[in-house]
């Protein structure tokens, strides 16, 4: 593949010889008395075992967490006894997985580091969610939390309401997505929610912040996710099943003039995503969206090019979204069923896609999966999610 041009006409290098391997998930729990440091430590420990490398081999690290307190990624190196020559701290919530992946890929490609570990972990103490909400950002403190303190639920309720008004999507449509994800989660042992969900139960669930009801919302929990980015030949020498990184995009604070969010930054960069990957939406075998709320999933269907803007509802009605059905989507159950382990929620889709593309799924397999798209979204600062990103992954030939 030759040099690609970005929308400004500048060349963008392909991720030659970069692979992603050793997916790690530390099983989630609803509440944890352990610290984020413990969760991150467990993830790295498991990753070194899986990859067959020693902690001292980790020469690159990307860290994402909301709950390490005063410890930045630098402090964590001493806590964990690592001495990386390349370090990044990506406090970007739901987009941190994709962003960490693309940072790590370039570091490996350029030879700045050989083994870049991308890790995210958060604990969930009994009262930590409320504390995170009230001090999430300056705008949240000044202009959101004092208004009912409904957290992200209230903010996304407004986005959902506006989207329903504008595009005619119904609660039943959103319910279909949630029910399908729950079906997918039934084969995942560490999913927070393992009871089958019916559309009827979804519709009758208790209201949280109209029009959102209980099963539109993720359950905050503790957990950790990690994976390793390295050169293809290095992965081969370690006999690690690996997936290729075809392309990535990232965007922050897009469409600031939209009065209420109806699209994410993907819509700015989506052509670049497909062009660089050399594939098209029809080629995709599974999609892992960032699913903090079904309205955001629907926006991703549209903004990533699987359907046009405003056609999300028709797209929902055309597919089953189950792992063994049409258009497999959030095949581990996503955060809606697995739980939202803080910043690890932005990595859940990546580890799941890696497992599907290397024939080692935890739950049901997606048959003949060759191309996966993983999407991230995050950081509701005031009235909308500011960050978006996506990556195209491919089965290694």
């Amino acid at each position: 593949m030759g040099a690609l041009k970005d929308p400004q006409g500048n060349a963008r290098l392909p991720y030659d010889n970069v692979v992603v391997c050793a997916p790690v998930t530390v099983p989630y729990v609803r509440y944890s008395t352990d610290t984020a440091h413990w969760w991150i430590g467990r993830a790295l420990h498991q990753l070194t075992k899986t990859a067959g490398i020693a902690p001292k081999d980790i020469d690159g690290l990307v860290l994402s967490s909301f709950t390490t307190g005063a410890d930045s990624a630098v402090g964590m190196t001493q806590h964990l006894g690592l001495s990386p020559r390349w370090l990044d701290h990506v406090p970007m919530g739901g987009v941190s997985g994709v962003v960490g992946l693309r940072r790590a890929a370039r570091a490996v490609q350029n030879g700045d580091a050989q083994f870049v570990t991308v890790v995210a972990g958060d604990t969930n103490h009994v009262d930590s969610f409320r504390k995170t909400l009230s001090s999430f950002s300056r705008f949240a403190q000044d202009a959101v939390y004092p208004y009912g303190s409904g957290g992200a639920n209230a903010s996304f309720a407004l986005i959902t309401k506006n989207y329903m008004n504008k595009y005619g999507v119904t609660r039943e449509d959103f319910g279909k997505i949630c029910v399908a994800q729950r079906d997918n989660a039934l084969s995942i042992p560490f999913a927070m929610m393992k009871k089958k969900l019916t559309l009827d139960a979804y519709m009758k669930a208790r209201p949280i912040s109209d029009p959102l009801h209980l099963f539109d919302c993720v359950m905050p929990c503790a957990g950790a996710e990690a994976f390793l980015v390295c050169r293809e030949d290095v992965a081969k020498s370690l006999r690690l099943p690996a997936v290729k990184l075809l392309s990535t995009i990232e965007r922050h604070n897009a469409f600031a003039d939209d009065p209420i969010q109806v699209r994410g930054g993907w819509a700015v960069d989506v052509d670049d995503l497909w062009q660089m990957a050399g594939v098209k939406p029809d080629d995709v075998d599974l999609l892992q969206t960032y699913d903090d709320y079904p309205v955001i999933i629907t926006m991703q269907f549209e903004d990533l090019g699987f359907c046009n803007k405003g056609e999300g509802k028709d797209f929902i009605r055309q597919h089953t979204f189950t792992t063994d059905g049409t258009f497999p989507h959030n095949t581990s159950g996503g955060q809606l069923s697995t739980g939202q382990a803080g910043a690890a929620g932005g990595h859940l889709g990546i580890t799941e896609a890696m497992r599907q593309l290397t024939d080692q799924p935890i739950g049901k397999p997606v048959k003949d999966a060759k191309i996966a798209v993983v999407s991230g979204f995050g950081m509701i600062n005031y009235d909308r999610g500011l960050s978006s990103g996506a990556a195209v992954l491919a089965r290694a030939s």
């Binding site: 409320r130 409904g150 407004l158 309401k161 506006n162 208790r206």
Partner: protein, 413 residues
Amino acid sequence: MTEPLKRPRRKDPLKRTQQPLYPQSIRSRTAHGLTKAAAAGRFELQTCDDCSTVFYPPRDACPTCLSERLPFKTVDNRGTLLAETTIRTSTDPYFRERTPWRVGLTKLDAGPVILSHIHGDVLEGQRVRLDLKLDKGGAPVMIALPEKDTPNMADDPHLREMTCDPKFRRVLITDGRTPVGQAMARAFSDAGCNIVFVGIADPWKPFPGQDELRKIERVEIVPLDVTDSESVTEQAEQNGGRIDIVVNTAEHIRAGGIMQRHGVTVAREEMDVRYLGLMRLAQAFGPAMRGRGADGVNSATAFVNLLSVHALMNWPQYGAYSAAEAASLSAAQCLRAELRSGGVRVMNVFFGPLDTEWFQIVPPPKVTPAALAKAVVQALQRGLEDVFVGDIAEDVRARLAANPKALERELAG
């Protein structure tokens, strides 16, 4: 349409008293520009001096041109409520006690999109006016009000959380001997107070206007002398648990500076009435008010200090008086901090020279007692914190903001 408030019944002493709570009130330093505007009842947003962009939430750099010249300016408060939600689950104890609670996003004609509380008469999609209020914790918040006033709109339970409306509340006017005290009694009676307690020191001593005072509906004369600790304590023991608004009308006004006076006797009296008097009232009535800040329709809501605007800058012609007023203002600021945890507002009302016997030598414009009383009631209905009444008071405020040193020289004459 807003359901009109019902006159509260006598409280069942066995029922749980709702504990005073308030929403998170931490704000960034820049966001306190909204606090300043809300305290005075103005609707102001940051407006870039360089590119005229109006924006929100408060920032330290213009999101259009990165300028740092970003003063809060009065802007058009009209807009359209684009989307609303009803919050039924909240992480904050204040809201948990009060859900369901509606909030929504309004697109202002002036540009920004603002998350706000919503008045009960407003529906999604409608034109609205945004108002900037202080919430129970004294923090600035936006509320979307109907485009035009609706019947009983002040009775909306969520709006009433942000105001100190005297309707159905019980007020104590600390000194009814003065024209201001009597005008205040009339105004609070007219505003729908359930009981207007009016304090009179030595009630057996006759005073001008007493017959008219007694004729005012729902006025109850009570013995009270703010210079007598025992009297204040006794009154608080008698009625402290059912006083929702205190308006301190006790005054001590004498012309003259400090050098020409003989001794400190008069100054001591001034301080006894204006500074120690406030302290006695605060000690006797404050704790019960702070405990009753969320006690239903007739919860404790405000402590009103009437202050000469010269509390803010000494006026040597009334120099010793100005000093006592300054002491009273300082104590009121302390009381504001102490009553905040109960959701009880301290309102400081700054007036220019009054049209009363103690300002005989001062030329107009002057403030009539009735005008002052009306301003106090309106300010409570709006939920303000700092109020300036009369042309002189407004003038002093403007000059103080522009150049305090110039004001000092000019007042020196």
